[in-house]
């Protein structure tokens, strides 16, 4: 089981490699990837340095080109694919059918992974991408239960990677346009959910308010920590109640499910968080390395250490974690 860690910059990439990642994924400094945030990601020079750092230590490196180009931006995405090929990454993580086709025809030797942004939750969909573009691996959306993940693995030719830890999209990735409904920009089109330039915090007589492009997403009491105003994690009124109508601000943590994931044939565990700091990447990678090693040594007697869990809770959104979709009652 491979540990795949995020890198939003070179120090994070090094932190991931140094702390036990088997593979690191990154993106370029533009809207061709789904973490298009200011000050984040790699130019070609930094990418070359990062790739050489990882490869010289026997680690693999993946590049994400996982947003959806519109005709007006098509060329930029093709150039990103060409860059990935010339950089010599171990795999390209893509979502768009057009871009997968471009990569497959122009760079037949480049390994293709299907991004979570392609919203593929079933083996028929995976067969489509395998038949059409020869994808080697797919990252599953964070919506399937453990038994459903198993079902996909048993009926699929491609390797399966799933999210193990990090911020939790409650929606099917690639099929949520709440962000563009409110701001005009979405992960699919602009590579960012709820982009920072639309975020506003206001101190009012009713408390601190968070807004996204003017839309009130939440009000906070004095003792409450303000969250990032994505629509899916705001508090809204439905009927007579005002509550987290879609999802609490919480993170995914599947540490305790590792043996089951391992026995199901999950090939790789992905850690979310290219936007996080190098210290976070180092800490999270280290814990997951230890956990995966312990699980692979003796899956029957594996138990996550409580120190791992509390350390992960502390760095999580809302300081709490959930097993998410893998745990049936959550659904």
């Amino acid at each position: 089981m491979e540990l795949v860690c995020p890198a939003g910059n070179l120090p994070s990439l090094k932190a991931a490699v140094d702390n036990g990642a088997d593979a690191v994924y990154f993106g370029l400094q533009n809207d061709t990837n789904a973490r298009h945030f200011p000050g984040l990601n790699f130019n070609l020079k930094r990418a070359r340095e990062g790739i050489s750092y990882a490869k010289s230590r026997g680690k693999r490196i993946f590049m994400a080109i996982n947003t959806y180009p519109r005709p007006e931006g098509w060329q930029r995405w093709c150039e990103a694919v060409d860059s990935a090929a010339s950089l010599g990454v171990d795999a390209l993580i893509c979502a768009d059918i057009g871009i997968l086709g471009y990569a497959h025809s122009n760079h037949p030797d480049l390994n293709l992974h299907l991004s979570v942004q392609a919203s593929s939750t079933n083996y028929e969909a995976l067969a489509f991408y395998a038949d059409s573009f020869g994808i080697k691996r797919a990252v599953l959306p964070r919506v399937l239960s453990l038994s459903q993940v198993k079902q996909v693995i048993e009926n699929s030719q491609v390797e399966i990677e799933i999210f193990g830890f990090g911020s939790l999209c409650v929606m099917v990735e690639g099929r949520c346009i709440l962000s563009s409904y409110v701001t005009g920009e979405s992960p699919n089109t602009h590579g960012a959910c709820s982009p920072a330039q639309f975020v506003e915090y206001r101190e009012t007589s009713e408390g601190l308010e968070s807004r996204l492009n003017g839309i009130l997403t939440d009000r906070y009491g004095q003792d409450e920590q303000a969250g990032y105003p994505t629509i899916c994690k705001g508090r809204f009124a439905v009927g007579d109640n005002t509550y987290y109508a879609i999802e609490e601000p919480t993170s995914l943590n599947t540490l305790e499910l590792l043996p089951q994931l391992y026995e199901s044939g999950v090939r790789a565990i992905k850690i979310e968080g290219r936007q996080r700091a190098p210290a976070y990447i180092a800490q999270v990678t280290k814990i997951w390395r230890a956990a995966i090693d312990a699980c692979q040594r003796d899956p029957q007697n594996y138990q996550p250490e409580s120190a791992w869990q509390s350390a992960l809770d502390q760095v999580s959104e809302g300081n709490s974690t959930t097993l998410g979709p893998y745990y049936r009652p959550w659904q």
Partner: protein, 293 residues
């Protein structure tokens, strides 16, 4: 050159009682639409109609009228039972199928059947369109967040034999999840949802704390609180040679909306739609802005 587009009735996104669905399609047979999409696209637990019941409605409609009937399929496929139903629909032997997941595209392509793609299939560029056309795509519904500028470029490179459909009217489907937000709003787990969706035939309203109607929750889907309304954009839709204009069914007055579009296409002054859009309309996506504008 400007051509007159056809009108379509999209699949019902909400959960209605069986009798109301039958009534709706009896009325739909008389509506001035050219294409009717039907079937469950949101949640496989909604079984007021079984797959065979939907097929029976489709058969009846096609015998009663000369409308094209298209079978719409589930957008989020998780369980094997859902794939089984999907295969059965794809193999119906009579009606074209609207694929709302790439899994459906795969099944239809393997059986060498032509297909339509719904708005949840991410077709954002002409290369994707060409790839799917080679697999059997005959019509695509433009994803909701794309606008007229993108559409213009897509139309210029559109493969031969592929029609373009635009979601013109109704609450816009914005997301899908594994979680059921309607069950959550009743403090019920999804496994024991008690089919609460049936109490909200246009979704359950979700408002901001300062009272702005933002979304409507519809089981595992969320839709916009406002209704998309592209009726004032008819000239532009025609100029861009859009082939089909989709009207998404709402619980009441769908026939009024269809009639207004039909009147406008005939060059007549359409009836004012505002009384039938209580929470206001929006067309932001079409103009390249936030969807809620």
């Amino acid at each position: 050159m400007s051509t007159n587009p056809k009108l379509s009735l999209g699949p019902i996104l909400f959960y209605w009682p069986k009798e109301e669905i039958y009534q709706f399609y009896e009325q739909a047979a008389e509506m001035p639409v050219d294409i009717i999409y039907l079937g469950e696209t949101v949640c496989s637990k909604r079984r007021s109609l079984k797959t065979q019941d939907w097929i029976d409605i489709a058969v009846k409609l096609s015998e009663q009228s000369d409308k094209q009937i298209v079978f719409s399929t589930l957008a989020l496929l998780e369980a094997e039972s859902e794939l089984k139903t999907l295969r059965r629909i794809c193999e119906n032997g009579r009606f074209t199928v609207e694929a709302n997941d790439i899994g459906a595209v795969q099944i239809l392509h393997q059986r060498k059947l032509p297909f339509v793609t719904g708005p949840s299939i991410n077709i954002y560029n002409a290369e994707t369109l060409k790839h799917l056309a080679a697999k059997g795509l005959t019509r695509w519904v433009m994803p909701l967040e794309l606008g007229r500028e993108t559409l213009q470029l897509m139309q210029q490179q559109r493969p031969e034999g592929v029609e373009t459909e635009v979601f013109c009217h109704g609450r816009m489907p914005l997301t899908l999840s594994a979680r059921c937000f309607t069950a959550r709003s009743h403090n019920l787990p999804k496994d024991d949802c008690q089919y609460k969706c049936i109490e909200y035939p246009e979704g359950r309203l979700l408002s901001t704390q300062d009272g702005e109607a933002l979304l409507a929750i519809n089981g595992i889907q969320t839709v916009s609180a406002k209704s998309c309304n592209l009726l004032p954009e008819l000239a532009e839709l025609k100029r861009l040679e859009v082939d089909v204009l989709r009207i998404s069914p709402q619980y009441r007055h769908t026939e009024k909306i269809v009639t207004a579009y039909s009147q406008a296409l005939a060059g007549d002054q359409p009836e004012d739609l505002q009384p039938y859009i209580p929470l206001g309309s929006c067309d932001g996506y079409w103009h390249g802005n936030s969807g809620n504008l």
